[in-house]
């Protein structure tokens, strides 16, 4: 699993009280009970703490998709 995935799941645990048992990489934010406002908050924290943009992630996105977006942001663009 990537650092980005770990970053997201750690944050879900700390801020949203999500237990590891609730999570797989195919779990969606919606299935965890998070909505678009929660995602906006996560995006702000990631931007402030890590300078990363969480663009294109919606409540229906999986944690894996969100981690991929973060990895893309880290590498400076969408992989070919």
């Amino acid at each position: 699993m990537t650092d980005a995935y770990q970053l997201i799941t750690d944050y879900l645990h700390d801020r949203f009280d999500v237990s590891p048992a609730e999570i797989t990489e195919h779990t969606t934010f919606d299935a965890l009970g998070l909505d678009s406002l929660d995602l906006a908050e996560i995006a702000v924290i990631l931007r402030k703490a890590h300078g990363l943009e969480l663009d294109g992630v919606r409540a229906a996105s999986t944690l894996r998709e969100a981690a991929c977006r973060l990895d893309e942001a880290r590498s400076g663009g969408t992989p070919a």
Binding site: R15, F16, D17, V18, E22, A31, L32, G33, L34, D35, L37, D38, A40, E41, V44, K48
Partner: protein, 397 residues
């Protein structure tokens, strides 16, 4: 999935409620009465209103079936989280899997997406249908709002059609009155003033569907029109939001931006100091609806078989009081009312986005008649006026 006749695990049957407390007594395993009893069916049980209403419905001696969109295991977790955030929810958490049967449905599909025999069995046993599910995002795509709120209501009416013994209790909104000003009576429903957002329009259309259905079938329907449902209790993570909680979250995000830009800002909203909003504590609203639902449907009302209740606060809340609390939630932001203002600048647009459509209500001066509600809930103490401290807590939730 719904399995008619499925043996139930040990459960407790609620025996009544008082002052918001729900009490339960033990019942034998696999009680035949429970198996054969008529059902209370509810949509939207995992939502803000539904989760406050559910403990009251469980306080009857009838089994409750919640129609949910998720896989039942997931829905049960969602429901447990939502109930844990309500005053009476803790009372039912331990026995939740046996107290509430969860049936996965698609509210936009024919027969709710259920196999014919399952839909038939559900309808045959149903005594009450509480339709609480709705998309309440005021600025969502109109097509999505009409799909969820309109089509969802259509499918619930389909269930009611198949349930000849059932009384439908439809949750609408006081704001089906749209942009009307002045006093709105409980039987009024017209769209001549237009709507402030597509949410209002979608709920108006849904209520029209319900009324038309009731008249054409001669069926008793209770329509609840709550105003803005709020609470000042803290909101645990991953639980349903209320409109002021949405507003507060948007303001905090806006505050982050202002802080990052190191500047103060002033937003000017079209409105006047005399504008009011009707905010009603959800705890009171749920209790009032449950009280009305527990009484027989009104036999004769001016609007045929439909009895409508404005589930609203006795006292309107001045909009300037709300704005003051909003400024408190967003340091650096000053909010001013300017009568007749039309042209919005960039910050006004950002504010409108952050507050999810609230700005349109700054010019609102509508009042809601609550005569029928008052008569039907004489035993309930109306809530205290909404204070600045209440608003600050509600925005913080």
């Amino acid at each position: 999935m719904y399995r008619p006749g499925r043996p139930r695990s040990p459960f407790r049957i609620p025996v009544g409620s008082g002052s918001g407390q729900v009490r339960f007594r033990s019942a034998p395993v696999g009680s035949g009465r429970h198996e054969e009893a008529s059902l209370i069916v509810i949509t939207g049980a995992t939502g803000f209103l539904g989760s406050h209403l559910l403990p009251h419905l469980l306080a009857t001696d009838e089994p409750v079936t919640a129609l949910v969109r998720d896989d039942p295991r997931l829905a049960l977790r969602r429901l447990a989280r939502a109930l844990a955030a309500t005053p009476a929810g803790h009372e039912v958490l331990d026995a939740l899997p046996s107290l509430v049967r969860l049936v996965r449905v698609d509210l936009s599909a024919p027969r709710l997406g259920l196999p014919g025999p399952v839909h038939h069995e559900l309808a045959e046993r149903t005594r009450q249908i509480w339709h609480c599910a709705a998309l309440t995002a005021m600025t969502a795509e109109p097509s999505l709002l009409h799909h969820v709120n309109g089509e969802g209501t259509r499918r619930v009416l389909e269930l009611a059609d198949a349930a000849p013994r059932a009384r439908l209790l439809h949750v609408s909104t006081a704001y089906v009155c749209g942009a009307r000003q002045g006093l709105v009576h409980e039987d009024d429903l017209d769209d001549t003033a237009g709507f402030l957002n597509p949410y209002e329009a979608s709920k108006h259309r849904a209520e029209r569907l319900v009324r038309r259905w009731a008249r054409s079938r001669g069926r008793a329907v209770t329509v609840f029109r709550p105003s803005v449902l709020v609470t000042d209790r803290p909101r645990p993570p991953r639980t349903p939001r209320h409109p002021l909680s949405v507003l507060g979250r948007g303001l905090r995000l806006l505050a982050e931006e202002l802080e990052a830009a190191d500047r103060a800002a002033t937003v000017r909203l079209p409105g006047s100091p005399g504008s009011t909003a009707n905010l009603v504590p959800v705890e009171y609203a749920a209790r009032a609806m449950a009280t009305i639902g527990a009484a027989p449907a009104l036999a004769t009302v001016p609007d045929g078989p439909v009895s409508t209740y404005h589930v609203v606060h006795l006292h309107d809340t001045p909009v300037p009081r709300v704005l003051e609390a909003m400024s408190h939630a967003c340091p650096g932001l000053s909010i001013r009312l300017e009568p007749g203002r039309r042209n919005a600048g960039a910050l006004d647009r950002k504010f409108a986005e952050a507050t999810a459509g609230f700005h349109r209500y700054a010019a609102c001066a509508v009042r809601f008649d609550r005569g029928r509600l008052g008569a039907a809930t004489r035993g309930l103490s109306p809530p205290a006026p909404i204070t600045p401290a209440y608003l600050r807590d509600a925005l913080r939730a």
